[in-house]
């Protein structure tokens, strides 16, 4: 017990210190808390009235629906380190504690108990209470209902912890971890598309899904749902079912905690061998592009292809405009008139603000800035690689456009996207230099060490300012691209589009020259901020 309380105190002290030692982080927390509270209250109201209304209309389908919801929520929460590339709830860094004579079960329990006080967990408690009030038919049953829902919640947290530990074991092999993260990010992206697809299809498919769930009750076997099912039975006064599901839920929690303790032990002893064989030696290296600029560009492209999170960004850029296709196809006027496409092109280009190209270098920044290569080359290479990574998205946008708008809008849309992209990339250099944000490695806690949003507020304000400035600076060139449409003389494009591109390129060159000069003065500060520990 002494070890358990010492571990929990250690975790709270570290969390508190992380906030107190960085004023910006404390300020960020203060800004986030009201939002989190509002979200929590809104979600609670939605859950309370939603469940009450659903039970009134389809009382038999409430259990299957809540079981499915608990399972989906639990699966997302537990798989968060895989699905989002970072852990939603921080756990103790097991690697630092395993050499102490702490029983693995104590280690696991301390992590679980510490997680209960995390803001993301606390924000769920009003939702838990709202759900309990919604499903409880009498005040007397309320304690049992709350107990049941908390069982599900505890199982979700315990599962999240077990997945974190499993990833810790997988992380011993870099290739396996890359594959796991790539797959997870792909699944995550597909899940994020589901609401769009459901919205595009209207209420019909959604109701069919609900009725199918009701008919099959497929999630009754999910341990995530057992606690919630126990709560619903308690609310209806069905004590035998409450005891059965409650006991099953408690056993499931104990099983997961025991599994986590076993995983901890096996990781410590190096027995968790999930490793495929090491890489065979690859073929000889060959740099394809010429010159210093080419080498910088090639380095960035190779790194992007080999880093799961960056590779995922590439594919999301490709698929993103297809989502817009679904949305725009639902809006008859704007999309099909071509105006929507031009707006989409403008914002696709301008959305390069916030690329944080130097923060993404992580430890490599010390190497990059140690080379005697002209800084404008570094900036241009960074911009080029980012533009190349966004190219699939722009091509997909063209594809979308060809379905949506009259074909003669495509040259203007392409030019607008390029013009805003050029100016946004140049402007973003200033943000990347002045406010580089350290990026955590894949699967790492985003709030740990130097990775926390230090001076994030200044960066966010500058980013918003640069976005507005980009639109402002790009507007004359956008107007040139738009002019033939306004005048109804498509032939004018032969003159106006090259002129718009030339003008944007000139602005780009001027902005990059200024950014290179700024960078040469700010290099030590950039390195200090990205590496953090100096």
């Amino acid at each position: 017990m002494a070890r358990l309380s010492a571990l929990i105190r250690l975790r709270f002290r570290l969390d508190l210190r992380a906030i107190l030692r960085a004023r910006e982080r404390g300020l960020g927390l203060l800004l986030v808390l009201p939002g989190l509270l509002l979200f929590s209250l809104a979600a609670s109201a939605f859950v309370f009235f939603g469940v009450r209304s659903f039970e009134g209309q389809w009382p038999e389908e409430l259990l299957p629906l809540l079981s499915a919801a608990a399972t989906l929520l639990g699966a997302f929460w537990a798989l968060s380190p895989v699905l989002t590339g970072v852990a939603l709830s921080e756990t103790h860094d097991v690697g630092r504690l395993l050499h102490f004579p702490i029983p693995p079960a104590t280690l696991v329990a301390s992590s679980l108990l510490s997680n209960l006080a995390q803001p993301a967990v606390l924000a769920e408690l009003p939702v838990v209470l709202a759900l309990a009030l919604a499903v409880s038919e009498s005040w007397a049953a309320l304690p049992l209902v709350i107990f049941g829902i908390l069982l599900s919640f505890a199982f979700i947290l315990a599962s999240s912890h077990a997945v974190g530990l499993l990833l810790h074991g997988i992380a011993r092999n870099r290739r396996f971890q890359d594959i796991a993260l790539s797959l997870g990010l792909a699944v995550s992206f597909l899940i994020s598309l589901l609401p769009f697809l459901l919205l595009a299809g209207g209420a019909g498919p959604l109701l069919r899904v609900v009725h199918l769930l009701g008919a099959t009750d497929a999630f009754a076997a999910s341990p995530f749902a057992w606690g919630v099912r126990a709560a619903v039975h308690a609310g209806r006064g069905e004590l035998v079912s409450f005891v059965a599901f409650g006991a099953a839920g408690a056993v499931a929690i104990l099983a997961v905690v025991a599994g986590s303790a076993l995983l901890t032990q096996r990781i410590y002893r190096g027995e968790l061998s999930l490793s495929p064989p090491m890489d065979p030696a690859r073929s000889r290296a060959r740099m394809v592009f010429r010159g210093g600029l080419g080498a910088l560009l090639e380095k960035d492209l190779r790194l992007a292809w080999r880093e799961p999170a960056l590779k995922a960004m590439l594919f999301m850029g490709l698929l993103g405009p297809l989502v817009f296709l679904v949305i725009l196809s639902q809006t008859s006027g704007l999309g099909r008139s071509g105006g929507g496409l031009l707006l989409l092109a403008t914002f696709t280009g301008a959305s390069s603000i916030g690329a944080n190209v130097f923060g993404l270098e992580r430890r490599g920044i010390g190497s990059l800035l140690g080379f005697p290569v002209a800084r404008w080359r570094v900036l241009v290479a960074k911009n080029l690689s980012l533009a190349i990574l966004r190219l699939p998205g722009l091509l997909a946008l063209g594809l979308v456009g060809s379905f949506l708008a009259p074909l003669h809008y495509l040259p203007a849309a392409g030019t607008l996207a390029l013009v805003t992209l050029l100016i946004a990339l140049a402007a973003d250099n200033y943000l990347s230099i002045l406010f580089p944000t350290p990026v955590p490695g894949a699967g790492q806690n985003p709030h740990g060490g130097a990775a926390a949003g230090v001076r994030g507020l200044g960066g966010a304000l500058l980013g918003a300012g640069l976005f507005a400035a980009t639109l402002l600076v790009a507007s004359p060139f956008a107007f040139l691209a738009w002019l033939p449409l306004l005048l109804g003389v498509p032939g004018l494009w032969w003159a106006s589009l090259p002129l718009a591109l030339a003008g944007a390129t000139a602005v780009y060159a001027m902005l990059v020259a200024g950014a290179a000069s700024l960078m040469s003065r700010r290099e030590p500060e950039m390195i200090e901020r990205i590496l953090g520990e100096w």
Binding site: G292, S367, G370, P372, W534
Partner: protein, 266 residues
Amino acid sequence: MSDSQGASGQAPADAIVVRGLSKRFRDKAAVDDISFRVQRGRFFGFLGPNGAGKSTTIKMLTGLLRPTAGGAEIEGLSLARDLLAIKGLIGVLPEDLPLYERLTGEEYLHFAGRMYGLSPQETRQRSDELLEFLSLADDRGKLIVDYSQGMKKKTALAAALIHNPRVLFLDEPLNGIDPISGRVVMDLLLRLAQKGVTLFFTSHVLDVVERLCDEVAVIHHGRIVAQGTLEQIRAHREVAEDASLEDVFLKLVAADVKRDDLSWLA
């Protein structure tokens, strides 16, 4: 001589000149008003206990950290004004090995060669030789993230050498390297010194420093407490003529170390 861009005019006698260099982190002076000179072609050992300011000094001299006060010249070029030119003349092996871990060892060397302005043919030839010389050839195609710590250190050293620098800054170059590779690296460093390359070297392995270095400076609590050849320091500090560098070092920096026994061992 370096293949990279260099200082114009006659080469100065001193490769490194440091004047009143200081670095403060909030209230703490990590480096406090240090001054010293290193002649060209010297093997210069920079010693000190943990946290004394060695790595901070190297980071300032290589342009990775801005001094709070003071300045320095490398090969006659001002650190404040000619940083980019200086980066072409020096090679750096930092303690924290800032490598691109998702490149292979060979790709990283090719990248480094191109960044130093070498032609593709030169880069390929030199990286082949360096990979062979440092016993990395068999692992040239593996990603650096899959390398051991020693292999990473050798890769960073190869990248620091690929452009044949005039001045080499080496922060703990032998840490984590096996004894065979350690010997190879030491022999290489001695050859470089004989060829006129200036080496600025930090290490905790004092017998290696004693064997390799022509001159040493000892930094303690951010201040230089001794500088010169070992003989000069011995004479100045009044230690026995046959005293080792370790004896001298302990006399210089360990005076304030408490030696009370642990109570539970009594």
